[in-house]
Symmetry: none
Subunit: 203 residues, 4 copies
Amino acid sequence: MRQEERDRRGPTFTETARREQIMRGAIDAVNELGYHGASLSEIARHSGVAKSALVYYFGSKDALLLHVVDGVYSALGGAIDTAVAAERAPADRLRAYAESYLDHVGTHRLELTAASDIVVSHRGPDGVPLYLATEDEDTALLRAILTSGMEAGVFRAMSLPAAVAIVENMLDLAITAVQRRIDADLDTLTREIVDFIFRGLLV
Amino acid sequence: MRQEERDRRGPTFTETARREQIMRGAIDAVNELGYHGASLSEIARHSGVAKSALVYYFGSKDALLLHVVDGVYSALGGAIDTAVAAERAPADRLRAYAESYLDHVGTHRLELTAASDIVVSHRGPDGVPLYLATEDEDTALLRAILTSGMEAGVFRAMSLPAAVAIVENMLDLAITAVQRRIDADLDTLTREIVDFIFRGLLV
Amino acid sequence: MRQEERDRRGPTFTETARREQIMRGAIDAVNELGYHGASLSEIARHSGVAKSALVYYFGSKDALLLHVVDGVYSALGGAIDTAVAAERAPADRLRAYAESYLDHVGTHRLELTAASDIVVSHRGPDGVPLYLATEDEDTALLRAILTSGMEAGVFRAMSLPAAVAIVENMLDLAITAVQRRIDADLDTLTREIVDFIFRGLLV
Amino acid sequence: MRQEERDRRGPTFTETARREQIMRGAIDAVNELGYHGASLSEIARHSGVAKSALVYYFGSKDALLLHVVDGVYSALGGAIDTAVAAERAPADRLRAYAESYLDHVGTHRLELTAASDIVVSHRGPDGVPLYLATEDEDTALLRAILTSGMEAGVFRAMSLPAAVAIVENMLDLAITAVQRRIDADLDTLTREIVDFIFRGLLV
DNA sequence: TATGAATGAGTATTCATTCAT
DNA sequence: TATGAATGAATACTCATTCAT
């Protein structure tokens, strides 16, 4: 079976290409038809491969969609990590966090609208949607920034979980805007969001 | 047929009761199984009636779910209207808006988690999800409050659409919290949200 | 139960009126929606009574439709009987048969299109369509006319079943014409049909 | 999907076989249960395949039934074309038309009873039954024969549409006879029909 | 490595019929 | 006499998944 071999020897070149191709097809299908309309056959059609190939490469439709989400949010996380790592002061790091997030949304619109659609609509076998299944790890960096800022006295003291939720939620607004209009102008919104966050957090 | 009769003579007592019973079943089913899992048969099972009864009373599954959404958000809107109407000053009105919203979420958890789930996952025939199909009317009151506050100089000047989106989004956080844990303590979150909103908006 | 009482005492006035009203509704529904579309609820709607009333008065949907067919073809048969009874010579009687048939079709278009639709599409519980379940009795008069004409030497000798089938089938053409266009001009067709029949039968 | 592939590369061997198998099942089901009783599951059962296979190969139940009708009447039309093409004189061509028609009915009883049943009972989305939706093309050959015969003075002058309708209708009698009794003896009926037609048409 | 063929479990919806009143 | 309420069985159709090749 493919997955096991991959574990042993790592993916071959063509395999990686095929997986990439299929994930792009999935993103296109979700954007065009919505999560509900993105059936396996539609994804296959958008990918230019047979339905059975999707199952062959990803094991199941669900696994494929989760891979898409994983890939998109990993890329977003990577961009944020890089931006934040370039700063030392908590406020600068928070600004880098927010701006790199919003910038990445603006430059990866198709990926993020699709991934967001999946995150919002997909349910695991237990019926729990992805967007409620946040792992601690996902918010670790933001939590660290906020904590150090509060300890440094540059951010006011407030409930950490609340602060994390508020900031993440506000950044999400950019994705919603892009979902509404794929070519939405994010500049104003970006400024307002960052401004609002800092007004809420600074002492 | 049921719907037409209702238009002519108004609902009978038993009809209202049955509709209520079915809508409760739908809310239960959505909460337990998620929007996707809430098939007609599951809703019927949770309601204690036959599948065909749902169609008999609501015409279609979609119509039923939209009725649920409509009912839940009408109640929320009503609570907000009442609270806001008791105040005159923009800041007081905004506070009443936010607090009544958050309070209503706390006292109607099942209804709002279900309705929110539907709003987020349901697609109309055009494929557009409900939460992207916001009507101007839905945000009219909030827009009016923010506008008058800005004109009065009590709120700082900022993009009105951005302000509306930010405030609504932040209030939504309470629903997300309840979706995560149905018995979540909303007191802290409520205080933090209201505080954050006012810090962001006041001059 | 209604039917049993009717057997005992004969139908009351209002009962007859109701049955009439419902049969008219059925004819309207079949003409407007076709046999397939003429569901019990549609017939009820066209009749202005409740679905359950149809069952109450006729026992079942099938029984109702059979009553309609029966009524319509009885009226046609009556018109033919009257016209034929006025003639003595076989050729005159056949002409009276054909012309009264075609005339009746022209003056009872709605009834006959509906009845014909039912006859053609309806299946008994055994799966046998009505138009194949012809009773001997239905063709008795035509058979008698043809027989006496052949015996008198005015019609040529030919297979009696074939002759009956051919004549009936040819007269049916008028109904088909009306089904195609409810306001079809039957004059030409009538002349051609009668002419054709006589050319085929006369010695 | 099956249909699209077929357009691109032509049907594969197994595909053709499966389609044949399913169409035979449909013919059997219609003959046994009538158009109404021939549900997708019954057709599947008679075909020995799963319901979903019917949809896989034909797209929908309606498409399948229309394919059956199309196939059966194409074969009939082909037989007629061949027979008629061998003759030159209008009367000979008409005789070839009628006799090949009636002969084909006799040798393809199951196909024609089923197809006729479908034609008579099936309604398009507009509610118009197939047998009323006759295309000009369907009667083109017969019209041409009759026209040329009238012009040559061998057939008497009469309304062309009436003549076409009468002849087609009379030939249909053979199908009705077979529907009534699948092993009906068509020899006599054939002779009588052809005879009747010529008596009615010859000058 | 890749897929075409086939399916079974599931979907929403329709509809004639029943029954208490 | 008449009906509103309710349903169970049936309908066509969808779709993720399997499997032989």
